[in-house]
């Protein structure tokens, strides 16, 4: 099952250790992680459900621009903060 992990900079605000989920897309994987860590949602997404401007998502080491791409069984999703945000 895909594995989702979050930048250490988020752990300070919301404890969110890496988790395995069964989402079929990046979006579903994140939603399942937010189910485990409900407070995390507002840190990663804005009030309309869009990825925050200075938050970036990598899948297997590659930055992704959308969250609807399908995920494979062994894919690694990593949520980071963009350096563009300072």
């Amino acid at each position: 099952m895909p594995r989702v992990s979050f930048t250490a900079n988020l752990q300070r605000h919301v404890p969110c250790p890496p988790c395995t989920v069964d989402g079929r897309t990046t979006r579903e994987a994140l939603d399942q992680a937010f189910g485990l860590y409900p407070r995390l949602r507002g840190y990663v997404l804005d009030e309309h459900g869009a990825l925050r401007h200075h938050v970036v998502v990598f899948v297997n080491g590659q930055a992704v621009s959308g969250l609807l791409d399908p995920l494979g069984e062994s894919d690694e999703v990593v949520v980071m903060q963009a350096l563009s945000g300072g």
């Binding site: 605000h13 507002g42 840190y43 009030e47 309309h48 200075h54 938050v55 903060q81 963009a82 300072g86």
Partner: protein
């Protein structure tokens, strides 16, 4: 009389307390390393609130029910989705997303409305909570006013509500001030609104628009608790006062040092007494002659004293933001903090100032607890 100051800074929320020997000192810090943009000590129930801006991770609100010993994250004002296909732009065509950027003002509701809080935000939405900040609702009656679309950013890309005054006579009467969008008043708890900035002058607009109430940039508006018909405003290009409940505003012509600044405080029981912290002008935003001073009037703005005792008078480049000057319930104690991390307190209405700190992070807001 208050012995506690909440000092919101770029790197944490500092509690500053008066000690037995009459000195003020940092007692503790919460959210160390985080950007605390505002704090509120609710006089009705003792709860404390801290507004944080995590940058990458958005604006948050925390609440403490035990005097700051522990904090819990509560709800945050959230904008609704705009209507399908709706693209909002400012008067210059730049987009204004319907998304919370910052909590820019936070005030308790009337004493008869326990749990009610008001929050002003960037990009210009006013929010109300009825449950101590657990949940928030956008005040659509103000957001949906057509004039709101003409508001402009002032120091930020988008407009924002930075001042909220709840009338002590009637909690349904609320006045808010907008940079840049004038002064707005509801008399019915937020059902309807009217712009109340007649008399304000905007030097940064073409002459034919200078007195347009909806373009005014009142950097800060405060209301005298004991004489609620009296309001003071440090405006972008001058100091204004209203004696008639914001029906009209008068520009004070005799302000020494500089008419530019951000902060203003009014005496809690004497509407003729107010304090300002002037800056050189909007181009440079430093103290005049690199000397930190406070202006005080005791006669409604006809004359001002320039207060310097205890304040740095050489190579001082402290700027004082709009929420960083506070007065306590006696009118004798005031405090202000600066962008360069200094904090000063007076216990005699400003005649003499004590330096409390010189190396804090940049100070955004100061409030007596």
């Amino acid at each position: 009389m208050s012995d506690l100051l909440l000092v919101s800074t770029r790197k944490g929320l500092f509690s500053v307390k008066r000690t037995a020997n009459g000195r003020w000192a940092v007692a503790d810090v919460a959210f160390l390393g985080d950007n605390v943009t505002l704090a509120l000590a609710d006089p009705r129930d003792g709860r404390r609130y801290a507004a944080l801006d995590h940058g990458h991770f958005g604006a948050k609100l925390h609440r403490s029910a035990d005097g700051g010993a522990s904090w819990e994250e509560v709800g945050v004002p959230a904008y609704p989705e705009p209507p399908e296909g709706h693209v909002e732009t400012d008067p210059f065509g730049r987009p204004i997303p319907w998304k919370l950027q910052r909590i820019w003002s936070l005030e308790p509701g009337h004493g008869t409305q326990p749990g009610v809080l008001w929050a002003g935000t960037l990009p210009g939405g006013l929010f109300r909570s009825g449950d101590h900040g657990a949940s928030w609702s956008l005040v659509r009656s103000l957001w949906d006013r057509p004039e709101r679309r003409a508001w402009m950013g002032g120091g930020t890309d988008v407009p924002g509500i930075h001042s909220i005054c709840v009338d002590p006579r009637d909690g349904a009467r609320v006045t808010v001030a907008v940079s840049c969008g004038g002064v707005w008043r509801t008399e019915d708890g937020g059902a309807t609104w009217a712009c109340r900035a007649q008399g304000m002058r905007a030097a940064y607009m073409p002459p034919e628009r200078a007195y347009d109430p909806n373009v005014q940039d009142p950097h800060r508006v405060v209301q005298c608790p004991a004489r609620p018909d009296v309001f003071w405003s440090q405006h972008h290009n001058g100091v204004f006062r209203s004696l008639d409940d914001c029906a009209s505003w008068e520009e004070l012509a005799e302000v020494p040092v500089s008419g530019f600044g951000f902060a203003v405080a009014v005496h809690p029981s004497d509407p003729a007494t107010a304090w300002l912290v002037p800056g050189v002008d909007d181009q440079r935003r430093i103290p005049v002659d690199a000397k930190v001073v406070v202006l005080r009037t005791r006669d409604g703005g006809r004359s001002f004293q320039t207060l310097r005792k205890g304040l740095p008078q050489k190579h001082a480049y402290d700027l004082v933001f709009r929420h960083a000057l506070a007065v306590d319930s006696t009118g004798e104690r005031l405090a202000f903090g600066s962008t360069t991390g200094s904090l000063w307190v007076t216990e005699d209405g400003g005649d003499a100032w004590m330096t409390v700190a010189e190396h804090l992070p940049p100070v955004y807001a100061v409030q007596f607890g």
